[in-house]
């Protein structure tokens, strides 16, 4: 219905949710049949780092966090760049779409082999 970018977690019939998706659920081996858009949800910062030695085509410094979403009682974790430094463990963040997270032409991986857009996390004021 819409071209808005989605931030999709994947759910199997037994209710296990993962980001990213897998062919078969890592918990129970059933096919994942449903997606859940995380784009309008907030998450909590589990841990973060600032990388100052980044590979070709990656911003430097690169602020990165692992965050946890709560999806109907299931914890779904994700990793992604932060929009800013000064983030603390436990902070609330929300996803913000970015068209290109790193320059696909610079890295070792073939540019057509994967997507390069995605979601950064920004603090919720």
């Amino acid at each position: 219905m819409t071209d808005e970018p989605r931030f999709e977690a994947h759910r199997c019939p037994n209710g296990h949710v993962t980001y990213p998706g897998h062919t078969l659920c890592p918990e129970c081996g059933e096919p994942q049949t449903e997606t859940i858009d995380l784009v309008d949800r907030t998450a909590t910062v589990v841990t973060w780092t600032t990388s100052t030695a980044t590979p070709p085509g990656v911003r430097e410094p690169n602020h990165i966090a692992i965050v946890a979403f709560d999806v109907a009682g299931e914890t779904v974790r994700a990793i992604g760049q932060l929009t800013t430094d000064g983030i603390a463990v436990g902070d609330e963040v929300r996803p913000v779409y970015a068209e290109q997270l790193r320059d696909p032409a610079e890295g070792i991986r073939h540019p057509d082999s994967q997507a390069w857009d995605g979601f950064r996390f920004e603090p919720v004021e």
Partner: protein, 403 residues
């Protein structure tokens, strides 16, 4: 005393009965100088391979299986087929050859392959050579070659192995109330051990202040929390124990080995401070060897980052979860401590030529068990090597014992 964990029940209850098997012996071992080398990968492999044949007193044409542990000769220098070339260059034709890529744990995976070849009866004499040539690449390029193992959702954000280490270290320090200095003590200890290793890339002590004052690489980790980029190679010769004495009196025995895989997507692990692959692979290895963590006298752990030494020492059952840092602070893992860890200097000071590292771990344990470790020698009848690929994505644990 009092640091070592009492082994939980179950370590000796693994499936499989190995008691009647002809065990697999290590009858020769070698490693090249690690560091910045002029030679390319094929010559590094040849150097270690030839030295290993000499060490074992074995003629090249006796080798039936030849395994080469190597992560990325194609990516680093545009070369494939290194295992075939090695067999030809060493005069080992027509030995069966196979290259083993298990990222950073290619060396451990090579030990598993070599062990299987002998244990199954497929080969009566197997050589394993691990090696990597990396330093001709810039740090950024080498970091990207290694980061190519990450999942696309990680890679697109520029996540590197060092960033995983920073993310995990922050979580560990917060959760277990460990001081940042405790990580620095791993680097100080391993650098001190490396001084006595003639093959190590760095043979220089560092003090706590130097580590704590070095530049931040992946907050809260600093330059000295990371292993260097390294060229080098190491090798082992394996045969059935029943014929080992025909070659040498100084052999060691692989009494237990196990391998396991954890989530490929690192953030999907339920507890970021537990390395599931270490837990599972060591459980298998202990069961096969009929040993407990408390039986281990010396261990080589995969300290690609200082934080990994804490996590492995806990997940191998040496210390309670969250207490590995205290054991390092209290000197338990020093060379003269109750459980010496990384007497070789570890990846931290010895260097980390990816495919060579797991093989070089076994080289060190073999030297310790055969009483041939020179100034690094400790009292040891049972040794353990834990080789980690990815950020714990795959792990091989090997238990080795004196003959």
């Amino acid at each position: 005393m009092g640091h070592r964990r009492v082994s939980p029940p179950g370590y000796k209850s693994g499936a499989g009965d190995w008691s009647d098997m002809d065990r697999v012996a290590i009858i020769g071992a070698s490693m090249t100088q690690f560091g910045q080398r002029d030679e390319w990968v094929a010559d590094l492999l040849s150097e270690a391979g030839a030295a290993c044949l000499r060490d074992g007193g074995v003629a090249p044409d006796e080798v039936e299986h030849l395994y080469v542990s190597n992560m990325a000769s194609g990516e680093f220098e545009g070369v494939s087929g290194v295992m075939n070339r090695l067999a030809h260059d060493l005069g080992a034709l027509p030995a069966y050859t196979q290259r083993v890529d298990q990222t950073s744990s290619s060396g451990g995976a090579g030990i598993y392959a070599a062990w299987q070849s002998v244990a199954s009866g497929a080969s009566d004499l197997t050589m394993l050579v691990g090696g990597e040539k990396m330093t001709h690449r810039s740090t950024a390029e080498a970091t990207d070659v290694i980061a190519s193992l990450t999942h696309p959702v990680e890679y697109k954000h520029g996540v590197t192995l060092p960033s995983f280490a920073g993310l995990t270290a922050r979580h560990y320090l917060d959760r277990y109330d460990a001081p940042r200095e405790s990580l620095a003590r791993v680097a100080v200890k391993n650098h001190r051990n490396g001084v006595d290793n003639p093959h190590a890339q760095f043979r220089k002590e560092v003090d706590l202040e130097t580590v704590m004052g070095s530049p931040v690489v992946a907050d809260p980790l600093r330059l000295y929390d990371f292993c260097p980029i390294t060229d080098g190679s190491a090798a082992l010769l394996l045969c059935p124990e029943s014929v080992a004495a025909e070659y040498t009196d100084d052999y060691s025995v692989v009494t237990g080995i196990g391998g396991a895989t954890d989530t490929h997507v690192v953030h999907e692990r339920e507890d970021p401070t537990v390395m599931g692959g270490v837990v599972e692979s060591s459980r298998e290895a202990y069961a096969m060897a009929d040993r407990d963590p408390d039986d281990v006298d010396v261990a080589e752990l995969h300290d690609m980052f200082t934080i990994l030494e804490f996590l492995q020492s806990e997940d191998l059952g040496f210390f309670e979860k969250g207490r590995g840092w205290k054991a390092v602070e209290d000197g338990v893992t020093d060379r003269d401590g109750e459980l010496p860890i990384n007497t070789s200097g570890g990846l931290k000071s010895k260097g980390h030529p990816l495919g060579a590292s797991g093989v070089a771990q076994a080289y060190e344990v073999h030297r310790q068990l055969t009483g041939d470790a020179g100034n690094r020698q400790v009292e040891a009848d049972v040794g353990l090597a834990c080789n980690v690929g990815g950020f714990g994505n795959c792990v091989i644990t090997t238990v080795m014992e004196a003959a």
